[in-house]
Amino acid sequence: MAQIDDFLWTYQNLLASLGVNGLLALSMYVVLAIGQLSLGQAAFMGLGAYASALLTLKLDAPFPAVIAASMLVPAAVALVIGAPTLRLSGVYLALATVSLGEILRVVLVESDLTGGALGLSGIPEKAGLPLIFACLALALVAFTLICRSRIGRAMEAIREDEIAASASGIDLPAYKMAALVASAMLAGLAGALNAHISSFISPNEYGFDAAVTILSFALLGGIGSPFGPVIGAFILTLLPELLRPLHDYRLVVNGLIIVFAVLFMPHGLLVWPIGRIGAKA
């Protein structure tokens, strides 16, 4: 019996991380889709995870409110980070989001409220697999619909040429900010779901390596469609589990994926463009 329980437990963890990583990949996708780079996805996730865990543990807040807060807190931080940087060239957002991650890590380690370096444990398991995958499915449907609309086309236009997009009447600042905020909300949601299924969170989970791993999900899958990043996340979550030796070299593999994807396959390794009316036949 114990063995079966063990097996189920591992199995559940793997499935949960598939769903959570899928959401994280989508959160990266929204930003990449408008030609920006955020290295703060792990930090947004951490903000969502800690905000939700604290609300549950300290205030015993109702779960829907916890989920809402896990999206609103990172959204507010995204506004603060995005307002000054999105007007400048893309490098500034990338570096400012890196800074966000570092500041968050230091604050989490130092603060007693968040349990310091040990993190928070004993978070009740309120987010089952059905909820996680429902969120992922909902997000995928939403992005597919957006992709096929004038908003998706405007995002692609911004990614290709900001100046021409602006000259076509596309409100650049609003689009960029909306994308960053949506991305932060998704990552925060992923963090909250993850915290409420794995019962334990610590500052180390939201560091620079995690941010880069999330980027490699999206680059492996490509940003031609929202399905690409999710498939990328699935592959990079499953592969190390199937090939144990790969586990120790995860960072190396992620690094190589990023290098090769950008150098040789700028449209992603899995090209699967979403059909928009009027798009490539």
Binding site: G35, Q36, L37, L39, I81, A83, P84, T85, L86, R87, L88, S89, G90, V91, Y92, A94, L95, A96, V98, S99, L100, E102, I103, V106, V107, V109, E110, E162, L172, F208, D209, V212, L215, S216, L219, Y249, L251, V252, N254, G255, L256, I257, I258, V259, A261, V262, L263, P266
Partner: protein
């Protein structure tokens, strides 16, 4: 206490300034955000460690490490960025490629050399110290500041007074135009890569000496800090990078002394975020710097 903290901060800050100088050179002239820069920092520190372990004095180990780090920079720049330059890929592409490469390089480095913290052999530096009123400055600290000042002055005069420097500045302004003007941009780019790699490597040796702790991932944190510093200083602004490096060094020392040594690590980033809010062109940048 306060004075001693400031002195220690200026010492670390001068090494930061040197590091930021190479980074801003790379960014300003080559026009790429190259995250492998921190790798040269770590490479420099390890090479000096190896040389010192083999019995070389610091006067030999430091330049040797810097030169080899410069050569590594040339090779990596060639492997990673030639293709992106040719296809005129967007700025963020170079950032992502070098990001991926650093993950690989750091992992490889810790696999080869082990991830534990290493220290320079005892007796590499004279243990003596000078008293300056109530304050102490060690021989090592003087070496650090002296090297940083010397190399910075060297670079500034190179940029200002030589043909290579002129070509570099032309390249920083406009690479297409300078190519048309008959500047061998490839050769200049190689030189800039070498110089910035060597500056990064030298900074790695100096920081390694100051804290006497060398580890493969030391470059990762430093790269991020370096970018915070050059944005503070105004991207591509050499004087700004130097000043911001010193500023961050001092503020870190004061934070470590009066607040907490953990928060010290966040000083640069906090400054960066504040700067972006108040003066996105950097503390010392000209207004209207790099817009989207």
């Amino acid at each position: 206490m306060l004075g001693q903290q400031i002195i220690n901060g200026l010492v670390a800050g001068s090494a930061y300034a040197l590091f930021a100088l190479g980074l801003t050179l790379m960014f300003g002239v080559l026009g790429v955000v190259n995250l492998t820069y921190g790798f040269y920092f770590a490479v420099g520190a390890y090479l000096a460690l190896l040389a010192a372990g083999a019995g070389a004095p610091i006067a030999l180990a430091l330049p040797l490490a810097a030169i080899l780090a410069g050569l590594v920079a040339v090779v990596l720049d060639f492997l990673l960025l030639t293709r992106l330059r040719r296809t005129r890929a967007p700025e963020l592409a170079s950032l992502m490629v070098t990001l991926g490469a650093t993950l690989f390089l750091y992992s490889a480095m810790s696999a080869l050399l082990g991830s534990e913290i290493r220290r320079f052999p005892a007796g590499l530096l004279d243990n003596g110290a000078f008293a300056l009123g109530a304050y102490r400055i060690s021989v090592g600290q003087i070496l650090i500041v002296g090297t940083a000042v010397l190399l910075s002055l060297g670079l500034v005069s190179l940029m200002g007074a030589t043909r290579t420097g002129l070509a570099m500045r032309a390249l920083a302004e406009n690479s297409d135009a300078s190519e048309l003007m008959g500047v061998d941009t490839q050769a200049i780019m190689r030189r800039v890569s070498f110089l910035s790699g060597a500056l990064g490597g030298a900074a790695g040796v100096l920081i390694g000496l100051e804290y006497n702790a060398i580890a493969p991932y030391m470059g990762e944190a430093m790269t991020l800090k370096g970018f915070a510093i050059i944005i503070l200083g105004g991207l591509g602004n050499i004087g700004g990078a130097l000043a911001a490096g010193l500023l961050v060094g001092v503020l870190e020392a004061l934070t470590a002394g009066y607040v907490s040594s953990v928060y010290k690590e966040a000083v640069g980033f906090l400054l960066l975020v504040l700067t972006l809010w108040v003066r996105p062109q950097g503390l010392f940048g000209r207004p209207g710097a790099r817009r989207a």
